[in-house]
Amino acid sequence: MNNILIYLVIVPLATAFLIPFVDIFSNKARKILVGFSALLEFSIGIYIIISNYGEITEHTFFLKYYLGNWIPPIGITLSMDMLSLFFSTLISVSLLFIITYSIGFIGHHEGKYYVLLFLIWAAMHGIVLTGDIFNLDVFLELMLITSAPLVAFKRNRNGTEAAIKYMFFGAIGGLFIFIGVILVYFNLGTLNFADIAQSFSLLPLFSKKMIIIFFLIGIFIKLGIFPFHFWLSKAHSACPSSISALLSGVIVKVYIYVFIRLFFNVFGFDILRETGLDIIIIVIALTSSILGHVLALSENDIKRMLAYSTVANLGIIVAVLTLNTKLAILAGLLHVMAHLLMKVSLFTATGYLLQFTPSHKLQDLKGVAYKNIILFAGFTLTAAGMIGLPPMIGFASKWHILQAFLDRSFHWGSIIVILGTIIAFFYYIKYIIYGFKTISIGPPERFRLILSVFYRERVVTNIAILFAIAVVVVGVFFKLSYGPIEGAANAVMNPSIYIESILGG
């Protein structure tokens, strides 16, 4: 029993509900509240790590909390193993900095913005911590409902269209997951992860396959894997850049967590392998990856390009994870971290740069590097990381991914990864070359004055540069992140630890 877990969900949830009340009194109080809560939530995560440091290094870390003291499988269990810890830390760190970025970036309707952002944070932690499949579904829906208004935050035609599309696809994906939950409950009479995991193999093959298909399609729609990727580029590009960073960097990783937790721990990977579904998943994911890269190449809009690159990278992550060797899961989790850092870095930098251009189009980005040369250098470094140049973190993950594919003699996978990075090289260098191009003063009507609206410009640039530095520093010292990632991979590979820890205590 550990009370601390519930605070990870309650603190952001309570902040979200407090903000409107504080907003009535003063703007300043709200800002203080937002900063304070973000720091508090972050420090809870730090506290968990520090107080359990010994167990984390020995990979035996496990925390659990029974809501209302209902012993599983009856009540809802919140639990945190190495995998949850890994994702929870990533969420907390990136959200803290994204909120700091937003303080300088978002000026209007701040109240609503932070309410939604904290609700997303609560939902994400809920998903990562919960041990109940219905609860998981609830949090997934909460995340969808709260992120959809943020997609439409710019209140223009493009944003609204994207949000409607996002809602449509997200709701249908949620529906599939919900049907899956119903099927699980009617077949097994339980909703607890550990309990399901124990008795799932006893089900008839047909039911098992049915349940897995529904969950798989649901998660694939939410992840934007081909052929369900249509909503992603629109949704991730129409919103403000801070939200793009959140959606493309963090939220998709939470869906990756759901994918790992459900298919590796709850249902067990054996059923996928026995029925040959793993090969199908790998093929779909690799198709999605190469298609994402090709579509990113076709794009003329920098944010849509970054969004398509997310599709490509998610495909790689899913494919690598599905290889189901220890090396593969390590590579997948490393790439989860790498892609999170790099995408947040790219989107935050892009958010700054796009304030000085009339549109997101490539042609309008001419000479944008000279607005802030250090920030653009960071953008360039991160882009180099995305194509796997050392010493950026992208190199470490690319190396491990290739190794994982070759380890299972899956040559096609590694060839697609390499081909993808070569295509990525072409689409990133296009923007970098344009960024460094010097502008010749043309007819005056083409260069209308663009007023940048930053509320605190220094905060915005500093956060963007900070993420770029993180990409390099984590890349140089990536061996240090081996320990926790290895622990997380252990947790994925041995579902029995999870089952015993929940039911046996």
Partner: protein, 495 residues
């Protein structure tokens, strides 16, 4: 990371030798670069520093990861060095090198997967071949050499000195460590490189193009030495890597000064070279003599070892004599056109603007040559062969015969005076491919491209990507239709 780098390093005498040669080459080119008024000098020095770090990692390490990181550092830093010249060439270089390094990464992982966890001898012929192809793009092994004359001839002189003098050798240094027992395909590739690039150098009208092709040709000798698997030929390759690196650096740097003083790159315009710039002339002749392998210079020692140890049977022996003559041919042709294309009238006219070479240039040009001479005296340390074993008298006689044959051939062919050719570029390459295709279809030739090659490839890629994009459905109704379709497919085939 740092501990990983340090623990994986092997400070064997060979590695130390290679690293120090590389550092000397870099320093010399930095000294020479001071004669070119570069802006952002500190950035230039920083790039050089990263480059030194990169190749030090490649040469010293025994760990494949560090090796790949080193390659990428070298690629990126040399790309940045090229940016001080022309952006376009730098871009072409980066694109080709990036594709090459991705292939190398794949090959290295294949090798690691086969159980070779550290850089060392590889017994598997297929893996050897893969590695040779992997470093092929970087080290311009025949078939992947197309970019070298383009980039090396258009780069600024200090950058091309680094590229031609050392970067292309890095691949062969790796091959030295891995292909220890020889590889017959590498051997024949080496012969092909010497012949093909030698003839190209012989027909070149641009001095830097000549030097670039001569680099490929000399790399061929190194490949022969490694590919033969013979112990002495192997040491000959080691020696040739060092000697050629130093000599080519000096030659490329001097080419920069030649171009400056002659205001042209065409060798036919190098009139009265001897009168104009005696220092540069002497250094150039010395450098070329090292390439050709004239006795008492270190080039003779390395070529002697490769020539007499690598070949078996009388046919190969004659082939090797032929290969040596090819080098002599293009070297003598350049000396004739470039330096001794004298004009008695010109001697008087030139009195005022006689070139006095600066201190930077002097030290940059002479240092490598002095080192080569030193290596000549002490090459027994590297190769473990006594100095008397080089049969100097025999070498003199053979070299004189080579020179005699070469001069006769050149004299008969009027010192190969041909129409000036354009400097090779990617566009020219594409025109040649297109004309070949048009010739097959019986259509008239084209003279120039409407869009340059880089943009053309880009357009093809982007048009293909746009085609894929247009192929996918646009309306939300049709996009949503994929969900039931996939569900049905999975239900049909999976359950």
């Amino acid at each position: 990371m740092l501990s990983l780098i340090l623990t994986s390093m092997n400070f064997s005498s060979l590695n130390i030798l290679m690293v120090s040669t590389g550092i000397i080459i870099t320093l010399v080119s930095i000294i020479s670069s001071r004669d070119y008024s570069y802006n952002n000098t500190y950035l230039f020095y920083l790039c050089n520093l990263i480059y030194i770090l990169g190749f030090t990692m490649i040469i010293l390490t025994e760990n494949w990861i560090i090796f790949i990181i080193g390659w990428e550092l070298v690629t990126v830093s040399t790309f940045l060095l090229l940016l001080w010249g022309s952006n376009k060439i730098a871009r072409v270089y980066l694109i080709i090198q990036f594709i090459g390094s991705n292939f190398l990464l794949y090959v290295v992982l294949m090798i690691m997967n086969a159980g070779y966890n550290t850089i060392g001898p590889i017994d598997n012929f297929k893996l050897q071949l893969l590695l040779i192809i992997g470093v092929g793009v970087k080290s311009a092994i025949i078939g992947f050499h197309f970019w070298l004359p383009i980039v090396h001839s258009r780069a600024p002189a200090p950058a091309s000195a680094i590229l031609s003098g050392w970067v292309v050798k890095l691949g062969f240094i790796v091959l030295l460590k891995t292909v220890t027992t020889g590889n017959i395909l590498l051997f024949y590739a080496g012969i092909a490189m010497v012949i093909y690039a030698g003839i190209q150098a012989l027909l070149a009208t641009d001095y830097k193009v000549l030097l670039a092709f001569s680099t490929i040709s000399q790399l061929g000798f190194i490949a022969i030495g490694i590919g033969s698997g013979n112990q002495y030929a192997y040491w000959g390759s080691v020696l040739h890597i060092i000697v050629h690196g130093l000599a080519k650096t000096s030659l490329f740097l001097s080419s920069g000064y030649w171009v400056k003083s002659m205001k042209s790159r065409s060798i036919y315009q190098f009139k009265n070279g001897w009168f104009k710039d005696k220092t540069n002339s002497i250094i150039t002749i010395l450098g070329l003599a090292v390439l050709a392998g004239f006795p008492i210079l270190a080039g003779y020692n390395s070529k002697h070892l490769i020539k007499y140890a690598a070949g078996d049977g009388w046919i190969l022996k004659y082939v090797f004599h032929g290969l040596s003559i090819i080098t002599y041919l293009y070297v003598l042709r350049f000396i004739k056109w470039g330096i001794f294309n004298l004009d008695k009238k010109g001697e008087k006219d030139l009195d005022e603007d006689r070139k006095v070479i600066g201190l930077n240039a002097l030290s940059a040009l002479i240092l490598p040559i002095i080192l080569v001479l030193l290596i000549t005296l002490r090459s027994n340390i590297i190769t473990g062969i006594d100095y008397t074993d080089y049969h100097l008298l025999h070498g003199f006689i053979i070299s004189l015969i080579y020179i005699l044959i070469s001069v006769t051939v050149l004299k008969l062919s009027n010192w190969i005076y041909i129409k000036e050719k354009p400097v090779p570029s990617m566009d020219l390459l594409l025109i040649r491919i297109k004309n070949g295709y048009r010739w097959l279809n019986g259509r008239p030739k084209i003279e120039r491209l409407e869009v340059d090659m880089e943009n053309q490839i880009y357009n093809i890629a982007i048009n293909f990507a746009k085609m894929v994009y247009n192929f996918l459905p646009k309306t939300i109704q049709s996009q949503l239709l994929f969900i039931p379709v996939v569900l049905l497919l999975l239900l049909l085939f999976y359950i």
